[in-house]
């Protein structure tokens, strides 16, 4: 069985690359997520309620979609989501903790983001995708996990799998499909995956 990486993107602290090509962002002191939101000319008010983890994953998914419009032709339950990171929802966890310490009240708006899989929900809601979705926590980018589980899902019930490693300043997303629709000539393999991942991550 041969599957293909048909798009990929890296979101770093102040730059973003799609299929290895740097995106021309306007000079700005804004957070990279705000810059990308503007770059994508989005009008999606829910975005501003999200925590940073969800925002980053959400924008990565939008960038990949922009580059792979055929993704929208799959049936609504044929696109799977496999996402992972090393620290779960630690940033929001800390903010939620702060909300009720020192005399404050626990914030329900923060609490709902104290689960890392919420970002899967945000991407599913945006695209009306009802496919399989799994969030895992691992110390490092685990190419072997993505490789084997992607192949499994494509073999079982999915036509495409969007994968993401969502870490502050070194986010990496890639789309895997059964055909090499964008002709990037990147067969899904351990070597290829590690090579592309490391392209922009120091």
């Amino acid at each position: 069985m041969t599957n293909y990486i048909t798009s990929y993107c890296h979101i770093l602290s102040d730059e973003c690359w799609v299929n290895g090509k740097k995106i021309a962002l306007q000079d700005s002191d804004d957070d990279i997520t705000k810059q990308l939101y503007n770059y994508l000319e989005m009008d999606y008010p829910k975005f501003f309620k999200m925590d940073r983890l969800s925002k980053t994953a959400f924008l990565g998914a939008e960038l990949i979609k922009n580059n792979n419009l055929a993704l929208l032709n799959y049936k609504d339950d044929e696109v799977g989501l496999l996402f992972s990171n090393p620290i779960s929802s630690a940033e929001t966890d800390l903010n939620f903790l702060k909300s009720y310490q020192n005399g404050g009240m626990p914030s329900p708006a923060l609490f709902v983001y104290t689960l890392p899989n919420i970002l899967l929900g945000e991407i599913a809601i945006r695209n009306k995708w009802y496919g399989e979705s799994v969030f895992t926590v691992s110390e490092n980018f685990d190419a072997a996990y993505f490789l084997s589980y992607c192949n499994m899902l494509l073999n079982k019930c999915q036509e495409a799998v969007l994968c993401g490693w969502i870490k502050n300043n070194e986010t990496f997303l890639f789309l895997v499909e059964k055909e090499d629709v964008n002709q990037l000539n990147l067969q899904l393999s351990l070597e290829q995956l590690n090579k592309i991942y490391l392209k922009k991550i120091k």
């Binding site: 903790l97 009240m105 709902v112 995708w129 009802y130 496919g131 895992t136 926590v137 084997s148 589980y149």
Partner: protein, 361 residues
């Protein structure tokens, strides 16, 4: 190739083996008790808590004890084998002891203590984590990536999680009453649950069962509110039945999620109505264990396996009169009957839903 499942374990206020837990709930004994002044506003609240105050590293203790118990029921040294993976299911691990990275340290400890060949996979997918972890294990076994999977789920009651659910007004001021007319929300619980899954039937010491299939589906609706049409639950159950090649008529019993919040239970009733499964005997075990979050899918599946062993399905504790818009066959008494095939479901924040089917061989 089949996937087999067995060697189940549960650690809860009701006991430290699956058998102890099953015998307690068979007598309709619940682990839920009132705990004084534990709420954010120093309210007394009902919880299914193992200790009044948890010792240090209690999360890791639960994981490691649960895994140890499964190992005792497995062929020696399987845990150290090269074709064995450990899969952990948790929502928050020991969040207050290690805020910046709660899940990586327990993984390192497990590798060291159990001499694991591969780094455990941590599934953190809200309240479907446990069911999803078994589904992932099955996928790995079916694709020959691994032969054996020890799947262990644990979560503990912390101020963090309790205050969070209180902030959502989701905590009941009495023991939870899933699917009931007078339900008032969830009761939190803590504990661990685990199973061994394998393509090799000789790894089990005691009788084992078949893990037929499992899938997941997102609601694509709202991050903290269940779909009003039960779309994700409807889709995952439909998909699991189809891939398993099992007709809904052959499902003897449904172990539902049943958190006792109005929106969740209503969503489940709508999904089961759309599925044409409202006549099938069903329960929620939250009235015995509380909602143990990342452990719940594993604890409840371990009870399902006990039901297959003993041919008894357990009354849905806290339920008197139906409180959902669609009728469900919620068990008001234990049912002694030949149980062959069971459907287990779970739903959670982030719009996630999962289901699995286990049956006798």
């Amino acid at each position: 190739m089949q996937t087999f499942i067995g060697a189940e374990n549960i650690i809860s206020p009701l006991g430290i083996t699956a058998e102890e837990n099953f015998n307690s709930i068979k007598k309709n004994k619940s682990g839920i008790k009132q705990v004084e002044k534990i709420g954010f506003g120093k309210e007394d609240l009902y919880l299914s808590k193992i200790n009044e105050e948890n010792p240090k590293n209690f999360f890791y203790y639960l994981l490691s004890q649960c895994l140890q118990s499964i190992i005792k029921e497995a062929k020696p040294r399987i845990i150290e084998a090269n074709d064995t993976i450990v899969i952990i299911s948790t929502t928050k691990a020991d969040i207050l002891e290690n805020l910046s990275s709660p899940m990586i340290q327990p993984v390192h400890q497990l590798i060291k203590e159990f001499k694991l060949k591969h780094t455990p996979i941590v599934i953190s997918n809200a309240c479907i984590s446990g069911v999803l972890a078994m589904n992932v294990a099955n996928d790995f076994i079916q694709s020959n990536t691994y032969k054996n999977a020890f799947v262990v789920g644990a979560d503990i009651v912390s101020d963090f999680v309790l205050y969070g659910f209180q902030s959502l007004y989701a905590i009941s001021d009495e023991p939870c009453k899933p699917f009931d007319k007078n339900k008032k929300g969830i009761t939190l619980g803590e504990g661990a649950g685990g199973v061994l899954m394998s393509s090799d039937s000789t790894v089990f010491k005691a009788p084992f069962f078949e893990f037929v299939e499992g899938t997941s589906a997102n609601d694509a609706n709202h991050i903290s509110g269940p779909s009003r049409t039960g779309e994700g639950l409807f889709r995952t159950v439909t998909k699991t039945l189809k891939l398993a090649g099992v007709d809904k008529e052959n499902i003897d019993f449904i172990s539902a999620h049943g958190t006792a919040t109005i929106f969740n239970d209503e969503m489940e009733s709508i999904a089961f109505d759309r599925l044409g499964m409202t006549n099938i005997p069903l329960n929620s075990l939250k009235g015995y264990f509380g909602h143990t979050l990342g452990a719940s899918g594993l604890i409840e599946t371990a009870i399902c396996i006990q039901s297959l062993r003993n041919n008894v399905v357990i009354k849905s504790e806290g339920f008197d009169e139906i409180g959902t818009s669609k009728e469900l066959n919620v068990l008001t008494q234990n049912l002694e009957t030949e149980v062959h095939t069971i459907l287990k479901t779970a739903s959670g924040f982030g719009g996630c839903n999962a289901s699995l089917i286990i049956r006798k061989l």
